[in-house]
């Protein structure tokens, strides 16, 4: 889980940094999109690998959840009084499944472009208008809200994910535990702020 988790985290980070180029200029993000499209077969290779990594991560999560459910058939009558678990750590499966559903929606929305309006704006292969698509897409408040909520959950998921992977990979010590804790929270917050800034900017009219 940790290995696939790191890969997905790096992807989330890269994806976010790429998209934040929208704040530089419309040309910048359109050019970025054209570069990605220009990768041709390599792009499909990356997409394929991401899918495999995501499925591996999901598969491992489902297996662990099944095992853990079975490990305590008779529940405590007085609920366990947790000392160290966090909201994030207890809701990993829930946030994870919502993120998967969101990813499917997101791909249909901006990659496959099932919405005829957006498809009209998209432009041709080497003259993409991704900027226009993003602005038009996020002008719909409901759509923006879906993105914002999903990205908040993604950030929550990542706070526990980041913290966990240091522990799993034997990089956590009692000396650096606090530092890693802050890093994990910071990473989650960074992803929330970075990703939500785009729909928020569109709704506020900063990007138009």
């Amino acid at each position: 889980m940790a290995i696939t988790g790191i890969m997905l985290m790096l992807f989330v980070l890269g994806h976010m940094l790429g998209n934040l180029q929208i704040f530089i200029s419309a040309d910048q993000i359109n050019h970025y999109a054209e570069t990605l499209q220009g990768l041709g077969n390599a792009l499909w290779l990356i997409r394929g690998s991401l899918l495999v990594i995501l499925l591996a991560h999901l598969g491992a999560a489902l297996q662990v959840t099944r095992l853990n459910r079975a490990a305590r058939p008779v529940p405590y009558q007085h609920a366990l009084d947790y000392q160290t678990t966090t909201f994030a750590s207890r809701t990993m499966m829930f946030t994870g499944l919502i993120i998967v559903a969101f990813v499917i929606y997101h791909i249909l929305h901006f990659t496959v472009v099932t919405d005829a309006n957006l498809a009209g704006i998209k432009g041709t292969h080497d003259d993409l208008n991704v900027y226009g698509m993003i602005v038009a897409g996020f002008s719909n408040t409901i759509v923006s809200l879906v993105y914002i909520v999903a990205n908040i959950l993604l950030g929550v998921h990542l706070t526990h994910g980041a913290k966990s992977l240091f522990q799993t990979l034997n990089l956590r010590t009692s000396e650096n535990a606090n530092c890693l804790e802050n890093f994990s929270k910071g990473f989650g917050v960074l992803v929330i702020l970075g990703n939500c800034s785009i729909p928020v900017a569109v709704l506020m009219g900063i990007l138009s």
Partner: protein, 250 residues
């Protein structure tokens, strides 16, 4: 001043009998009593009126054997940190408190009666590899094998595990990884543990899985509830040794 406590105790006649929480009044309890002494007193009073006493595990009553095993108000070994329930005192509670007492709950720890669970799963994990093989003979010189102090200390941290099972009881996943990791870690840091190191990790982890314990998802509850404060880093060390064992085919 003595206090009156309302106990909610899990009663279960046998492994296959259905269990339920029963309310038992514990009146006139001295704050200086240990938690188990309080239960002794309650049992004496129950027997005096011909009611079956509450069965619970205990032995040394000084926090070193790992027999006592009660979940008190949702916390394994009760509210004090780094304290076994036999070392817990009634002064940790207030007059009029409701106190819930339950057994360790895990598929691999079936209830035998009331608050006593069968922890043989731990024995079987130990038998799978929790030992070192050495040549017998005359006693060796004390310092024939030098061990760096930090390594000896780390091994001792792991060896302080008393095998009570609080890690399993407090884990949301019912995972035994802290126990198994401690039993592997106490040898992995010493020269005597090296020859069988990877085989040991693999066998013990596999036995742990066979017993039906859950898997670690890093909630860190085990470390918080461990009466001996065994650090969770032994779990990542165990994972590392297990992976190496698989890669080496040991």
């Amino acid at each position: 001043m003595n206090m009156n406590i309302t106990l909610h105790v899990w009663r279960q006649k046998g492994p296959d009998a259905p269990g339920r929480m029963e309310i038992i009044q514990a009146d006139d309890i001295s704050p200086d009593m240990s938690f188990l002494e309080m239960l002794d007193l309650v049992n004496e009073r129950l027997e005096a009126i011909d009611i079956e006493s509450i069965a619970f595990d205990h032995d040394c009553r000084e926090g070193i054997c790992g027999m006592c095993s009660l979940v008190v108000n949702g916390i394994a070994h009760g509210p004090e940190s780094a304290t076994t329930v036999c070392q817990l005192h009634m002064r940790s509670f207030k007059d009029g408190d409701a106190v819930y007492i339950e057994p360790w709950r895990a598929r691999a720890f079936p209830v035998i009666r009331d608050l006593i669970v069968d922890r043989e799963a731990f024995e079987r994990i130990q038998q799978a590899g929790g030992y070192v093989s050495i040549n017998c003979g005359g006693s060796p010189d004390a310092n024939a094998i030098l061990v760096p102090k930090p390594e000896a200390d780390t091994a001792m941290d792991a060896a302080s595990c008393i095998g009570c099972g609080a890690c399993v009881a407090s884990c949301p996943n019912g995972s035994a990884m802290l126990f198994v990791a401690a039993k592997i870690g106490q040898f992995a840091h010493l020269p005597q543990g090296q020859p069988e190191r990877f085989r040991r990790a693999r066998r013990m982890v596999e036995q742990m899985e066979t017993e039906g314990f859950g898997a670690c998802t890093n909630h860190f509850e085990c470390e918080a509830s461990c009466p001996k404060e065994v650090p969770i880093k032994f779990i990542s060390e165990m994972n590392r040794d297990f992976i190496k064992a698989v890669l080496k085919g040991e």
